[in-house]
Amino acid sequence: MPPTAYHAPETIEQAVNLLSGDASARPLAGGTDLVVQIRSGRAAPGAIVDLKRIAKLREIRREGEGFAIGAAVPCTALKDNAALAAAWPGVVEAANLIGSVQVRNRATMAGNLCNASPAADSVPALVAAGATCIVVGPSGEREVSVEQIPAGPGATSLKSGEFVAEIRLPGPAKGGSDAYLRSIPRTEMDIAVVGAGASIALDGNGTCTAARISIGAAAPTVLLVEDAGKALVGTKLDDAAIDKMMEAVRAACNPIDDKRGTAEYRTAMAGILAKRVVQIACERAGGNS
């Protein structure tokens, strides 16, 4: 059944009313997943609620030291925000690995998150960065960590009528930076076989003061690997600490075998990518200390 209504509300309140009044309605951000799913029959929303006419959701604004990124901000607009790209280069790069320029001119990080693919490129970077999202719905507004949104492939923890209105990134820690890498057999237009994100902070002596490591396409959801971060904090990122971090990442993996990669390959590569993103994040953090 094709959708029977298209709504383009201009306020968050109108969008909440439209979505909570019709259990079959779905929010539309960039549409690069939802429109494909409607056409293939995988999704059959009765109504579409387009969020792109809500001015507040098209903005990137400073929120204290951090940033608030509206649900309708396309990935390419993230690159154009110099302060955001300097503060969170890994997040901005990850979002700009998705699809093609045509796709990134539409696709949003909130949509990437709520599509709930374990291979979503921007999500591990957001998780590593400690991003949260503002969820709005009939019972009001709540702030939850990004890693709490995906519940499994294609499934979210959002309740009926709720949608992600905004993604919030904290200000980067002093001496901190981030990175994301994915493994694909080509350079563009592909889906991560496995991906890893890291956010690292170093003190003036090069001792790691904070670390968050995440992995994508290595389990039913993107994962924050807390033990991997713990293995680095308090160390100077020597080989022993890195090995322990890689071991924690591999232990957290629970991937599938499919045409794009075997579980064994994904598990091994998750550790290697985690090592590489830690190195890149540290190089970047060195410039910020």
Binding site: P2, V36, I48, Q102, E188
Partner: protein, 162 residues
């Protein structure tokens, strides 16, 4: 099902159409508006044959709902030439034999123009990355890249001369 009335600008002209909520911009361009230059290759945003420019940004028109075009500005392949005068990118595609079956060509030309409009002097690598979302199963891409690089050079010369 009630249809949606949409007013939008296509290649500088105000156009009106009726569409269903699930219809895409590509469906309406090719159907209601009779502009069949934009092609449907995959219908899933992978091939770029339906590339149009929406409010200054290139997008796959197969991934845009027609209702979203209300009040927007759309540029398609039909607006690239000026009457019978081909755009330099189109001319260079002919000279370099950058097309065989031609199905992908409108998308490539709209995408290449979008690049050269913002970056008149791209490197070959930049051209290749920019056009990564446009698939061609005939040419092997090399002639397309040469045509775009040559068109960029000519457009720079025209600008200097002007």
């Amino acid at each position: 099902m009630s249809k949606i009335h949409v007013t939008t600008t296509v290649n500088g002209d105000e156009r009106e159409f009726l569409c269903t909520p699930g219809q895409t911009l590509l469906d309406v361009l090719r159907g209601e508006l009779g502009m069949t230059g934009s092609k449907e290759g995959c219908g899933s945003g992978d091939c770029g044959a339906c590339t149009v420019v929406l409010d200054g940004e290139m997008v796959c028109s197969c991934l845009v709902l027609a209702g979203e075009a209300q009040g927007r500005s759309v540029s398609t392949i039909e607006g690239v030439a000026e009457g019978s005068q081909l755009h330099p990118i189109q001319q260079k595609f002919l000279e370099h034999a950058a097309l065989q079956c031609g199905f992908c060509t409108p998308g490539f030309i709209v995408a290449a123009k979008s690049l050269l409009d913002r970056n008149p002097d791209p490197t070959e690598t930049e051209v290749r990355y920019w056009l990564a979302g446009n698939l061609c199963r005939c040419t092997g891409y090399d002639k397309i890249i040469k045509a775009v690089m040559d068109a960029a050079a000519e457009l720079r010369q025209e600008r200097t001369a002007a």
